[in-house]
């Protein structure tokens, strides 16, 4: 059932959001954001799902079908899967930057508590 996917995506998203909004440890916030990110992939891939469809590979189809027949609706939507691939690549870069900044914060402030890292306010 695809509904399960949507529910799981929503649950993981909320879990990540909870971590971002309530955890003060910078690493835990980064983990929360990674969870939210993963949930958006699950959501978008689930949107691409079509009942009784195959993966969007049109070369050498089985069951004697032609690529054109496959493309008419029996494959999952490849564009949305492409979205996810692009977003995963961006997400990796993002996590690297996140952790680099976390290391810098730890070096400068000798803490990972975001609540102690707020020299700028008001």
């Amino acid at each position: 059932m695809i509904v399960v996917n949507y529910l799981a995506a929503a649950a993981v998203f909320c879990l990540g959001l909870y971590a971002v909004l309530t955890r003060r440890n910078i690493i835990k916030m980064v983990m929360g954001l990674s969870l939210m990110e993963a949930s958006t992939y699950l959501f978008v891939v689930s949107v691409a799902y079509r009942a009784r469809s195959t993966a969007p590979v049109l070369l050498n189809p089985q069951d004697g079908k032609t690529p054109a027949e496959l493309a008419k609706g029996d494959v999952a939507d490849p564009v949305l899967q492409n979205f996810c691939l692009t977003a995963i690549v961006i997400g990796v870069a993002l996590t690297a930057v996140f952790l680099a900044v976390a290391v810098r914060v730890a070096q400068h402030y000798r803490t990972l508590d975001a609540d102690k890292v707020r020299a700028m306010r008001g």
């Binding site: 959001l17 939210m36 564009v79 979205f83 961006i90 870069a93 930057v97 996140f98 810098r104 008001g122």
Partner: protein, 584 residues
Amino acid sequence: MTTPVLAALLPLAVVIPLTGAVAAPLLARLSRRLPLVVSVVALAGAAVPLALAAPSVFSGTVVVHYLGGWVPVHGAALGVGFAADPFGLVFALAFVVIGALLLVSTLSQFGGLGPRELGGYACLFQLLIAALVGSALTADLFNLFVWFEVAALSSYGLTGFLLERPVAAEAAFKILVLTTLASFLLFVGIGLLYAGHGALNLAQLHGSLARGTRTPDRIALGLLVAGFATKAGLVPFHGWLPDAHTAAPGPVSALFSGLMVSMGVLAIGRLAFQVYASGSTAVLGVLLVLGLASALLGAVLALAQDDLKRLLAYDTISQMGIVVVGLATGTAAGVGGATYHFVNHALFKSLLFLCAGAILHANGVERLSEMGSLVRRMPVVTAAFVLGVLSIVGVPPFNSYVSLGLIHDALHETHQEAAYVLMLVAQVVTIAALGRATWLAFFRRRPQPYENPERLRAGMITAMSGLGVCCVAAGALPEQILRYVVAPAQATLLHGSAYARAVLDGGRGAAPAPVAFQYGNVEELVTVAVSVVVAAALAYGYLRIREPVPVRALRAVHTGSVNDYAAYAVGGAVLVVAVLALAI
């Protein structure tokens, strides 16, 4: 040149700075300053295809190029399209021209840094400009998301560029968290839209949405508006903006404030008018509320700041609010005024941030309470700063007079008198905030002299005079700007179907519709004069009283905690989505 040639050259506006970004760190091995010099050349090169396209684009043609030759078939576009319409081209040209001037300023301000730092700086700077130009030209929603991410990644690097300052790491973390949250909203919003319509091309989406806007489409619009509002720094998505501007070096603050935040406004404008059919959603109402909240809150918080760059950053929030209010009127005068005000803001805010950077560079002070007597020490900077302030204030003949006047006219035209009054209040507080800053920094007497001040360098003066000249020109030639730039820009935005036809079928685009503005309108002149007098009284009074309770409460809400800022942004996003989904 013919339109197909211009169209084929269009991607060069992005490709040249991207190439420069790759080359910059490598060239740093040859010579320290080479990366910055190459960056200036690359941005000038990027301006060439844009400038070549400008005459035909501003006469109403939309120059369209599909990357890789994947042209639309039967009204369905699979390839990524680049379309220069007048609205996008105004932004793209401002991005490359002002970006090049800021690099000239960096060239002399950071000339002393090492080759690795300069190479990295030039790389990130060009990457950000390339992303901004790409977002202004693209006609594809997912491509827009990718440019958003490219801009975001390079902005993180630039925010944390002076990593020896602890606040830089703090600011970088805040901008990372909030922009990442925004990118999730955009990603899900684009996924929803694609799932409903099977299209990513803005023109194709326009056609599909014109047949009917269902609830998922409105939710998607809410997510997209909230995501781009974070980039634009609108209240309540603004938590990252003042910190990032305070911690970054002067030219980077100018780049963020003058150029990067406008990317959000540009995208919101495109979504509200060119993608969604006007009147099918409550987006204009939502934008009006967001814009007014930003205009007021930004102005009040600017009045309360002691750090000069932070003051200017809060004013950026206020000015973006004004631009969004202009868009929210949905009329020719309002949208035209918003476009004009974006150009003005990019010019005067870059100029003011360069002044703040120059003061810090020369005297090592960044707080207003430590400044004073700068008029005798730095007459050039004083002149530039006062020019910028007068432009914001909007005294004729300076540029904001026309753009603000147009937005005021639009609010009268649509009978939104309450919004007009709130705009005037925001303007009065803005004038008071900047007047207070000018007095404290430049004209107040400072008892003790500055310690071993550094002298201003040629590049900084060149950039400041360049921006100053553009600022004066934008105010001195309102007739020409209204006729040749603003009129076509507002027409292309307000006539989404003409834009859609041009992008998909190669039509001509919307015909420029004239925007009327009475320069010598007595009512407007009296309003400006009265606001200046009231603002002077307010600034004078504010210098003499303790911080009033409402201001203190507002400042207390800005706790500096990432968790709180994320909570404000998420709350704002939920509200925006709920209102757009439920209102018909």
